[in-house]
């Protein structure tokens, strides 16, 4: 209240050289902070009781988020409703809404890709957007020079992403934590600066325009239909991503990534090749960014280096951290919250970023594990003899 006093209450009218005292504003600030402190205390209290319960050994109380995911009675209808909703979405909502959804889905893909690097392998990558740019420019340039179609470039973009992932992976093999973050940050900037300054190669800051939208078996579609088509395409690709990430997560390689995140020294001592594991994490993570980049270029039909700034990397990282590191459902939710929220908060116009920032802070204070924290796969064993069965 006292801190905001000079800004909110005193106003100097420079035209008439008088000071205006706006006392009602003081009242608003006072009431507002009073109310907020109550909300804050309520959450703190709730968190403390939760901790106490956990200490008392009440294991029976499974968190709501986890119960939602494990109880088939709840999640089966939810999935059905959700899938029907996604199927009819472009027909009930406007083109604008569909476009926002496509953006949201692209970020789901990016989030799931970065989740491999950050969430599973624990390698803090601040230059992830570089691979996104590589994918987008692969499509734009290959199409511009050689006229390659979307479908031909999609795997090429993925491959280029993986290739650059390995290129970044080699110099950072020995690094971890903060040092790794700095190097990846630099890498992201290098790619962006190259795209911005190498005019002969990338057409510089003016970017590349007239990138064709994906075609449906050679058919050229109208803007409306092309958007709807892209929407379904995105849904399929996201489902494919979820499938692959889910498979990877519970495989030999996925476990190696998690072990690497948990303890690098022990991981090596248990016979895991650190170099190979890190490189596969970088390469596979970058693959998805490359693919998302191709789709991004096809969606906007115009790209320039301004789309691939550090801010994008940070948003994607926020998606992973906010959603819950290593959790697929969490990352999907995180992507929608972070991408759709600013869009729908446009009603609040200039306050939207403030609200957005406030929510991020509150989330990290009260749910540091993310919206949905990672649930490890459990195995059930029928007997204690050799006839155990895996019931999952």
């Amino acid at each position: 209240m006292f801190l905001t006093f000079p800004i909110m209450v005193i106003r100097v009218n420079t035209v008439e050289d008088v000071i205006e005292w706006r006392w009602p504003n003081l009242l608003f600030v006072g009431l507002g902070s009073f109310f907020l402190s109550f909300v804050w205390r309520y959450f703190i209290k709730k968190q403390e009781t939760g901790k106490k319960k956990a200490q008392a050994g009440e294991i029976g109380a499974i968190p709501v988020s986890r119960r939602l995911l494990t109880e088939p009675k709840i999640y089966l209808p939810a999935i059905i409703v959700l899938s029907i909703f996604t199927l009819v979405f472009p027909f009930i909502f406007s083109l604008y809404q569909t476009n926002i959804m496509i953006t949201g889905l692209i970020y789901v893909m990016l989030g799931l890709g970065l989740n491999i690097v950050v969430g599973l392998a624990g390698l803090l990558d601040l230059g992830y957007v570089a691979f996104y740019a590589v994918g987008a420019y692969s499509y734009a340039l290959l199409n511009h020079h050689f006229g390659l179609s979307f479908w031909m470039v999609l795997p090429i973009g993925a491959g280029m992403g993986a290739f650059f992932g390995i290129i970044l992976g080699f110099p950072v093999l020995r690094l971890r934590g903060d040092y790794l973050a700095i190097v990846t940050l630099g890498f992201g900037e290098i790619i962006r600066l190259i795209l911005e300054n190498w005019n002969e190669f990338s057409f510089g800051p003016s970017g590349i325009a007239n990138i064709p939208r994906p075609s449906l078996f050679g058919l050229q579609l109208s803007l409306q239909n092309a958007t709807i088509y892209l929407y379904y395409l995105m849904i399929l690709l996201v489902l494919f991503t979820i499938f692959v990430v889910e498979r990877l997560q519970n495989s030999r390689i996925g476990r190696a990534w998690i072990a690497l995140r948990e303890d690098e020294v022990a991981c090596e001592a248990m016979g895991i090749d650190r170099r190979k594991t890190k490189l596969t994490a970088f390469a596979l993570g970058a693959t998805w960014a490359g693919m998302a980049g191709v789709i991004f270029a096809a969606k906007t039909t115009f790209i320039n280096p301004a789309s691939f700034t550090i801010w994008e990397s940070i948003i994607i990282l926020c998606i992973v951290v906010l959603g819950g590191m290593g959790s697929i459902v969490g990352v999907i939710l995180g992507a929608f919250v972070l991408i759709l929220l600013p869009e729908y908060l446009r009603v609040f116009s200039e306050y939207r970023m403030l609200v957005f920032g406030g929510m991020l802070v509150l989330m990290m204070v009260f749910r540091p594990g993310g919206i949905v924290s990672d649930v490890r796969r459990t195995y059930k064993f029928a007997g204690l003899q050799n006839n155990q069965e895996e019931n999952l």
């Binding site: 190696a256 001592a269 016979g271 596979l284 459990t378 064993f381 895996e390």
Partner: protein
């Protein structure tokens, strides 16, 4: 755990069979390690024969853990040779190998300060140990062909079997960080066993354990040696455990070996007493 292992106490009687006749499975010759100007290890010799339990003891800072780190490839020693081979095969050098390659050769270790993977389940911790004995690649993981599916099934079964052996079967789906201390130590041993070693390197396995837990550990180590045919090299400060367990003891101080022999010989060795208790001053 205790039920299974107490019945195996009989194996203790067969403990003192020392097979000196065979070639050692681990032979270290003149190992030195310098950190800048500090000589942490000074021309250390050591050997472990098949089926032996060998203890490495010494005061704090004597270089025991450095020695382990050299063998397992975490440090590369300044000079010296390290040779290892599974029983009955030709010796191969360990020099210049990376930690994961050493583990692939069949030497597995545990850590002085427990280094489990805290946010993985107990079963997954052991499954990580099986990693280097598996082969599934990226495409295998994605498409999950029949061979990968079978491998996955096998690794779950084998890992569970190992957990049963060390008495942790009740904790399979528990996060490793939620285990009691003694169980965490045992899980580390289980994880090391999962790599199918012929030599297990235990770095202070009994540190911080109470009497009961130490007793169980004693039984477990004997049981591993006799039933899994794994030889053991351990660092330990608990003298009671060392004396009852080991076939031979090496004593190091300031990076040098000051004594070597059976527990009885070590107990009476003046050099060892001097290192641990200091010299007697006759005025």
């Amino acid at each position: 755990m205790s039920g299974e292992l107490t019945s195996l106490r009989v194996y203790k009687t067969t403990k003192k069979r020392i097979c000196r006749s065979m070639a050692p499975i681990l032979e270290v010759k003149g190992l030195s390690m310098d950190f800048g100007g500090l000589r942490a290890l000074d021309r250390l010799d050591l050997d472990v024969a098949e089926g032996e339990i060998v203890a490495l003891i010494g005061p704090n800072g004597a270089g025991k853990t450095t020695f382990f780190n050299c063998i397992t490839g975490i440090y590369s020693p300044t000079e010296g040779d390290m040779l290892a081979a599974p029983p009955g095969t030709k010796q191969k050098s360990l020099n210049g190998l990376k930690p994961n390659q050493v583990t692939e050769r069949g030497l597995a270790r545990t850590f002085q300060n427990i280094r489990l993977f805290p946010n993985m389940t107990v079963l997954e911790n052991v499954m990580i140990g099986r990693h280097c004995r598996m082969s599934a690649g990226i495409s295998g993981a994605i498409f999950r062909g029949s061979s990968t599916a079978r491998e996955e099934k096998e690794v779950v079964r084998d890992s569970y079997a190992i957990l049963e052996k060390v008495g942790l079967a009740d904790f399979v789906n528990e996060f490793a960080m939620n285990l009691p201390y003694g169980a965490q130590r045992r899980l580390e041993i289980a994880r090391a066993m999962a790599t199918e070693p012929f030599l297990l390197l235990l770095d202070e396995p009994a540190a911080g354990m109470n009497l009961q837990e130490t007793k169980e550990l004693d039984d477990l180590i004997i049981w591993i040696r006799d039933n899994e045919k794994i030889s053991i090299l351990l660092i330990e400060h608990d003298m009671k455990l060392v004396m009852s367990l080991s076939d031979r003891i090496f004593v190091v101080d300031y990076g040098r070996k000051i004594a070597q022999g059976t527990p009885e010989e070590i107990k009476c060795s003046p050099a060892v007493i001097k290192a641990y208790l200091g010299e007697e001053i006759d005025a």
